[in-house]
């Protein structure tokens, strides 16, 4: 069974979908791995290190792609790429299935088995394959570092001979995986951290990393069985904005990570809330690339508002620590392949009785994933 890892094409992408450590493990269970030359360079892995681990390092990847049984990437393949895949090949990558209808249909018709890393279910057992979590976790850390670097102050309190520097205030909106790690990191650096989330169970989790939870009474909110947030009603959203106002105004750093699974992220920080902040303050909008939690954020950019507030919308956060990010992504991918690995036949065999197969979108020409099918054709069910 041949596993092929092309170099990521997206501009500025430094991560790589497999690292030598897992190449070695895959070889050990009986797979062959081919990787495009210099694919790991951005994350600090040399071609030699891949060779040592047992991979074939290829310069023109197209040829290998044709033979590939599994293609592992971080970002989704292009439709062109798909053309060269053989029928029955398995494609593992982020797919953005809710928005990439065209690509997914192309996969279907190419007979490619498309696995979406976003659709790994959120169970305790599948956490080791959950790339959304592993990358969000790093994102939480990176966002705080970026905010701290952009801020014109330091985060911790210091009582010094040259006066007392008060601790900076950090407000984190949305305390999922990324939000919690952001809280913990800001806390570590000595900031005074407050957080808010619409899911009520999160209050305890926020306190469990040592921060304060901002209580805003929104009425019933709820969460899905996978632990994702449910979309707020417009009234609730209004209440939330109102409730956050004071906290945002007196914060030095605001970090937003709010997401609603399968939908555009909610806009929760409006321009007037931004305007009320002190000049020099910093906002990090984690969701800038997918629509934004903050009014005025621009994907991939740092915007300085008239009031002197910096809105960071860089995106692709975990890419800032590509070595660790690649290691974690590769570990997720390896665990996924391993889960479905058939030791005797030495191949990956999907088992649709296993819950985890929820991440499979297309298989043998069919759109097998019910959630996605539903999303495209809501009426058909």
């Amino acid at each position: 069974m041949l596993i092929v890892v092309p170099k990521e094409k997206q501009k500025g992408e430094n991560r790589v979908a497999l690292i030598p450590e897992f190449v070695k493990k895959l070889s050990r269970v009986g797979a062959r791995v081919a990787i495009e030359a210099s694919a790991g360079a951005g994350a600090g892995f040399t071609d030699d290190s891949y060779r040592e681990a047992g991979a074939e390092v290829v310069t023109g990847i197209e040829a290998s792609l044709k033979d590939a049984d599994i293609v592992v990437r971080i970002h989704k393949p292009s439709s062109d790429d798909l053309a060269s895949y053989k029928k029955g090949a398995i494609s593992i990558s982020y797919l953005d299935p809710f928005n990439e209808r065209g690509l997914i249909e192309a996969m279907g018709s190419a007979g490619v088995t498309g696995i979406s890393m976003e659709m790994i279910p959120r169970s305790t057992r599948s956490q080791k394959m959950d790339a959304l979590s592993s990358q969000a976790n790093l994102a939480g850390y990176v966002m705080v570092l970026k905010a701290a670097a952009a801020l014109d102050r330091i985060l911790p309190m210091m009582m010094t001979p040259a006066g007392t520097l008060k601790p900076s205030k950090v407000f984190v909106i949305g305390a999922g995986v990324a939000g919690l790690q952001a809280i913990a990191t800001a806390k570590r650096l000595g900031a005074k951290v407050t957080a808010f989330d619409t899911r009520s169970v999160v209050a305890e989790q926020v306190q469990s990393v040592g921060a304060k939870f901002l209580h805003i009474d929104l009425g019933e909110t709820g969460q899905t069985k996978d632990g994702y947030a449910v979309q707020l009603t417009p009234e609730q959203l209004e209440k939330q904005k109102e409730g956050q106002k004071a906290e945002i105004a007196e914060s030095d750093i605001v970090i937003t990570t709010a997401q609603v699974f399968g939908r555009k992220p909610p806009l929760i920080v409006t321009a007037d809330a931004v305007a009320a902040m002190k000049p020099g303050s910093v906002i990090v909008d984690m969701a800038a690339e997918t629509g934004g939690n903050v009014e005025g954020s621009r994907p991939g950019e740092v915007v300085v508002t008239e009031g002197g507030v910096k809105i960071i919308g860089t995106g692709n956060w975990s890419n800032e620590v590509p070595r660790d990010a690649s290691q974690m992504y590769a570990s997720n991918v390896f665990n996924l392949i391993d889960e479905f690995w058939d030791e005797e036949q030495k191949r990956m065999t999907l088992d649709f009785d296993n819950d985890i197969s929820g991440c499979v979108i297309t298989h043998e020409g069919e759109l097998v994933n019910a959630t996605i099918r539903n999303h495209y054709q809501p009426d058909k069910g």
Binding site: S123, T124, R125, Q127, K128, S133, S134, N137, G140, V177, L180, Q181, A184, R188, E204, Q205, Q207, S208, V209, G210
Partner: protein, 452 residues
């Protein structure tokens, strides 16, 4: 001063030495000196007793003392360090038979009811102590099978013996001159001693010895009443009372109640066909302390509950105390513990727990069998053996930290509630698991103070 006052006051001194000695025995720093003081007290008591004007002939005394001293000294010197417990059991038995004999010898034709009652008690308790200790000795030295010995109708036999003892006692006090009652009483006591100890397992013997030791104190006390001797009363009741307390402490350290130790053998016969799975065994922090104190390897498994309780600093403090106490402490960090990746790391780093002590799941699991106590602090899913054992479970197949393989497991949580995954945890019902209910931080603080 009159001789009798000299003896009397010397007894006061001996008694004081016993008391001080016992007190000093309670702390490692002074224990040895305490033992010496106590021995000096004994020496004084023996020497002044020899001055007693009632003693007209020293021959028998001299011979008996010589024999006893030689046997005692040789036995004490020869015995291997590992066989100490059975040696103590044996000595204890001799103490019991001595009380029995003293009681017997003290029978005087003119004795009143009270004296006779105390004589009877002295004989009874002495006899029980004697044979009970011998059986304990047998079990410990593996001359006898160590496992609980039970037979059908045991409860009935025991009850019959107890009733017979009461009857014999009554008759003896009424007609002391009729020696057959006396012999009957002796025989019953001796038999009862055996009956009481055989159904108890070898592992519980230390508790039994301690209890019998307490009895031998009571026997001495009864003998004191019989022959009207203060010192016997003081020393006997000291031993009796402190023995009971010690027995109790030992039970706690073994995670057992006294009645559980004494009667578990009996009850098992009755409940042979009952299922006793699924019992939750709570334990107080106080009692947990005794177990921890005796542990030499402790594994700490933190989970989300530690984070909720913000107990990380207390955990570190406990770790340090355990280390000071000579134990090795390691942490087992499950990759999904907590609510965010690295949750435990953040907290433990805050509390300045050395990175070197944090073991990954794969590193700690192979070591788990050598761990004396695994302390699960607010973790649930990540230590759930259902992942290994219950095919149907939603977490089946996920590797977990196998705390149930440790000798003893303490689970610190507030209730029997389930964790994030919402599934029950069979760990809580395992034989070697003890639940310490309450907020993790409070429980830990409690434990920490116990170490003070």
């Amino acid at each position: 001063m009159a001789l009798s006052s000299l003896i009397g006051f010397s007894y006061v001194v001996s008694a004081a030495l016993f008391i001080i000695g016992l007190k000093m025995l309670g702390s490692p720093a002074t224990a040895r000196r305490g033992n010496t003081l106590s021995a000096i007290g004994m020496l004084i008591a023996v020497v002044v007793t020899l001055l007693d004007q009632g003693i007209v002939d020293f021959r028998y005394i001299a011979i008996a003392v010589a024999i006893g001293a030689v046997i005692g000294a040789v036995a004490a010197r020869r015995v291997a360090m590992t066989s100490m417990p059975e040696m103590v059991a044996l000595f204890n038995g001799f103490g019991g038979i001595a009380s029995l004999l003293v009681g017997w010898a003290a029978i005087a034709p003119d004795a009143g009811g009270i004296v006779l009652t105390t004589i009877f008690l002295s004989i009874l308790i002495g006899g029980v102590t004697f044979t009970g200790s011998l059986v304990a000795y047998g079990k410990l030295s593996e001359i006898m099978p160590g496992k609980p010995l039970m037979f059908k109708g045991q409860a009935v036999v025991n009850s019959a013996v107890i009733i017979a003892i009461f009857v014999a006692g009554y008759l003896f006090v009424q007609q002391p001159e009729n020696l057959s009652y006396l012999y009957a009483a002796i025989a019953l006591a001796v038999v009862f001693g055996v009956l009481v100890v055989i159904p108890i397992g070898g592992a519980d013997m230390p508790v039994v010895i301690s209890l019998l030791n307490s009895y031998s104190g009571l026997a001495a006390c009864a003998a004191g009443f019989a022959i009207n001797n203060n010192l016997l009363i003081v020393a006997g009741s000291l031993v009796g009372a402190s023995g009971i307390i010690l027995t109790n402490i030992m039970c706690k350290a073994m995670n057992r109640s006294l009645s559980n130790v004494l009667f578990s053998g009996f009850s098992k016969v009755k409940s042979m066909d009952m299922k006793i799975e699924g019992e939750v065994k709570p334990i107080t922090a106080d009692d947990a302390f005794y177990v921890l104190e005796a542990a030499s390897t402790v594994a700490i498994i933190p989970g989300y509950g530690m984070a909720v309780a913000q107990a990380q600093h207390a955990v570190k403090e406990l770790q340090e105390l355990l280390e000071e106490n000579g134990a090795e402490v390691i942490y087992g960090i499950h990759p999904v513990a907590g609510r965010m990746p690295g949750h435990m790391n953040v907290l433990l780093a805050e509390a300045d727990v050395s990175y070197d002590l944090l073991l990954e799941m794969d590193d700690i699991n192979p070591r788990m069998e050598t761990v004396d106590v695994a302390i699960v602090i607010g973790a649930n899913d990540v230590v759930n053996p259902a992942a290994r054992e219950m095919e149907g479970s939603p977490i089946y197949g996920m590797p977990v930290i196998n705390v149930d393989k440790a000798r003893t497991v303490f689970v610190l949580k507030r209730s029997m509630a389930s964790g994030f995954a919402g599934i029950d945890n069979p760990l809580f019902f395992k034989e070697n698991t003890r639940m310490v209910f309450g907020d993790a931080k409070e429980t830990l603080s409690h434990l920490i103070r116990e170490f003070g």
